[in-house]
């Protein structure tokens, strides 16, 4: 006995629904099969391969377009002693922002917007490199009109041709321009925004009704009048399956099929949209705990299409950026230059915006953030933490002695740097990617990025020096 389901969407020709058209059995048969396909794609039921993963592919869900960086920085960019040459503090391009970031599957372009006060004659740029620090794309940051009410200038650039997955993002300024202009104060870095380019960036006019987007409604009269079947305890959404034999030639369609099909449609409408079906005043679907009581927080029984896998083990998983931040400026010169000299405290270079340097080998928190987590499945965590480091390539330096820990309220995961984490083999730029970071869905997590060294630093690199944390990112990465 086969379940009525269409392998691909079939639909209904207009002639079958035109005024005066006969009530063809095939209309109901196709609608039942199409609805079953929609249910399977949304829930992953019946081993459906084309589940929704929001990668913009054919039938696999729209791109989410979640912003990647929305970071306030609020630092001045003072370059102390710009004429200082030598190993540290002022030579070459200064990367005033450096961080790893995860670009979701299906995305290829980003829009970069940086608010800065910057001296005239300076040309900042935005750059994306792959995890081997090979440049993928670079573009000058163009000065725009000031954002309303802001003192600083908004610089922007569009970068395209980026491969989805982990990448490195930099904002740089040619410091030699500073020296040639005889400037010591570059300005200020207020905030950085990076997001996938959206179709709405291109479509400005409201256009037709189809372009304006739907607004949900609440029906005025009658309260809850459109039937949605209350799911059973172990169901996410109540869905009636129909045997294919019901739609054999010359077989009549009875009211049971029609009424259940109507309820299937209403149920899916609420499940997918997150809004009461048809404008009912209240939801029928309710997120519940394991005992059947209402529970909207990390529910054991999620009744909405939200990639929770709480009731549907094969529901699609998605790429989702959580947060990304840069921690200070550095120089990625050929000989391991930095934005500051390695004094304690530094006296040369970008003294008000440089990344943190751990001074001893004991485990300590370098940066932290308290944020709510989405209600994705946590049994096999897809949460990853990428951390970018700068290092000297002094012969005594050994970043592989360092262990990086992503600690959350729920637990922790670690990664000890290995030679392969040296992005381009020069010893200057290291990337750690910590996988399976524990988390609790719908909960506030205090995320701490911590570092420790297996042994005391070499004598020549006592105090600061050897490694600094340039930036970090948290993201859910789908299989």
């Amino acid at each position: 006995m086969a379940r009525q389901k269409n392998a691909t969407f079939v639909g209904t020709p207009i002639v079958d629904v035109d005024v005066g058209a006969p009530s063809f059995e095939r209309l109901i048969e196709n609608a039942v099969g199409d609805t079953a396909l929609t249910f399977d794609k949304g829930t992953g039921s019946h081993a459906e391969a084309g589940v929704i993963v929001h990668d913009g592919g054919d039938g696999t869900g729209a791109l989410l377009g979640v912003p990647i960086i929305n970071q306030w920085i609020g630092r001045t960019l003072v370059l102390e002693n710009p004429d200082t040459s030598g190993k540290n503090g002022g030579v070459g391009d200064t990367q005033i922002f450096a961080a790893p970031f995860h670009l979701a599957a299906g995305e290829t372009s980003i829009l970069v917007e940086v608010s800065m006060a910057l001296g005239a004659g300076l040309t900042p740029y935005a750059k994306v490199c792959d995890t081997a620090n090979a440049e993928v794309v670079r573009a000058d940051l163009v000065r725009n009109d000031d954002e309303v009410g802001e003192v600083d200038t908004l610089f922007s650039a569009r970068l395209s041709g980026i491969t989805a997955g982990w990448n490195l993002f930099f904002i740089g300024i040619d410091t030699s321009e500073i020296r040639s202009l005889g400037l010591s104060e570059m300005g200020a870095l207020n905030y950085v925004r990076v997001r996938p380019r959206l179709r709405s960036d291109l479509v400005h006019a409201p256009g037709s009704l189809r372009e304006r987007g739907a607004q949900p409604e609440i029906q005025d009269a009658g309260g809850d009048i459109y039937g949605v079947t209350t799911p059973a305890a172990t169901e996410g959404v109540a869905h009636t399956d129909f045997e294919a034999s019901l739609f054999a030639n010359l077989k009549s369609i009875d009211g049971y099929v029609l009424s259940r099909l109507n309820r299937n449609l209403n149920g899916l409408a609420e499940f997918i949209s997150g809004w009461p079906a048809g404008g009912n005043t209240t939801f029928v679907h309710e997120d519940q705990d394991g005992g059947g009581a209402a529970d909207a927080t990390n529910p054991a029984r999620s009744r909405f299409e939200a990639h929770t896998r709480s009731l549907y083990a094969n529901e699609g998983q998605v790429d989702f950026p959580v947060a990304c931040a840069g921690f200070g400026a550095f120089l990625d010169g050929l000989d391991g230059y930095f934005a500051v000299d390695l004094a304690e405290p530094p006296t040369l270079g970008m003294l008000e915006w440089y990344p943190p340097w751990p001074r001893n080998d004991t485990e300590q928190t370098i940066r932290n953030l308290f944020v709510p987590m989405p209600d994705f499945q946590s049994a096999s965590s897809r949460l990853q933490c990428a951390v970018l480091f700068g290092s000297t390539n002094d012969g005594a330096a050994d970043p592989t002695q360092w262990t990086i820990k992503a600690k959350t309220t729920t637990g922790n995961a670690t990664h000890t740097l290995v030679a392969g984490d040296d992005t381009d083999g020069r010893g200057n730029l290291w990337l750690a990617i910590i996988t399976a970071v524990p988390f609790t869905g719908d909960a506030g997590e205090l995320v701490e990025i911590r570092m420790s060294r297996a042994s005391a630093k070499p004598a020549g690199l006592a105090g600061i020096g050897e490694i600094c944390m340039l930036g970090a990112a948290l993201a859910f990465v789908k299989p």
């Binding site: 639909g11 209904t12 629904v17 009530s23 609608a31 609805t35 929609t38 794609k41 929001h54 913009g56 039938g59 696999t60 869900g61 729209a62 377009g65 912003p67 929305n70 609020g74 009410g149 802001e150 905030y191 959206l198 179709r199 479509v203 189809r210 372009e211 987007g213 739907a214 607004q215 009048i225 009211g255 009424s259 109507n262 449609l265 899916l268 409408a269 997918i272 949209s273 809004w275 079906a277 048809g278 404008g279 909405f304 299409e305 959580v322 947060a323 200070g328 440089y354 751990p358 001074r359 001893n360 300590q364 932290n368 953030l369 308290f370 709510p372 987590m373 309220t409 205090l446 701490e448």
Partner: protein, 222 residues
Amino acid sequence: MAVIGHASLNFPLRDTRFVSEARGNNDVAQSIAGRARALYELLAGTNPFPDEQPATTRNPQRNLGHDHSGPPWGSAFLHPVAWWVGQKAATATLQQPAGLFDDLAESSPKSASFTFWNRPHATLPQPRIAPYSRLFLYIVAHRPTTNAALGVRVESVRADGSVEFETDSITVTGATPAGYVSTAYLRAHGGRNRARIQFTAGDANTPSVTAWALCNVVKRTH
């Protein structure tokens, strides 16, 4: 050809249309066929008949399909929308520039003024409020020796310069960084939002704020 007639999800049918002896009017067929297609497009983000107009309207990003930006475009996810990160540590252990919100003093507020990008989203009919329309402040803070009062003010700044704001007072109880959820929220809209976050010590116990984030905290409606 495919149906693009009664494809809106706002044309469902009541159960009474399917009782025994109910009339089989043409709109039953149209509604069933149309909604089946509309739901597929809303879920899959694909027009199954690319040579025709799509059956559904575009989401707030002007793509087809749901994008989890809140109803009716799917449940939203909880996550941070805008943030600032720092860390207060003894220079003996961590060398870095001085923190921006370290050791807050009484009557000496410190603030951050910035513009961030909020996800485009649909507004909801009253009394419901869309998830991304209110962003709550999550804070990491600690105090040196005694529980400290931390004043919080979250402002949304309109283009005309007018300000809407929410305030809160938090008792910082930990000597080590801990997370606090403020009741203060930002009234936000889709796209660029201008905001100001201000912290003030409410007493002489000098709390420090080492990170904060404006966050979406609900899935379907406030």
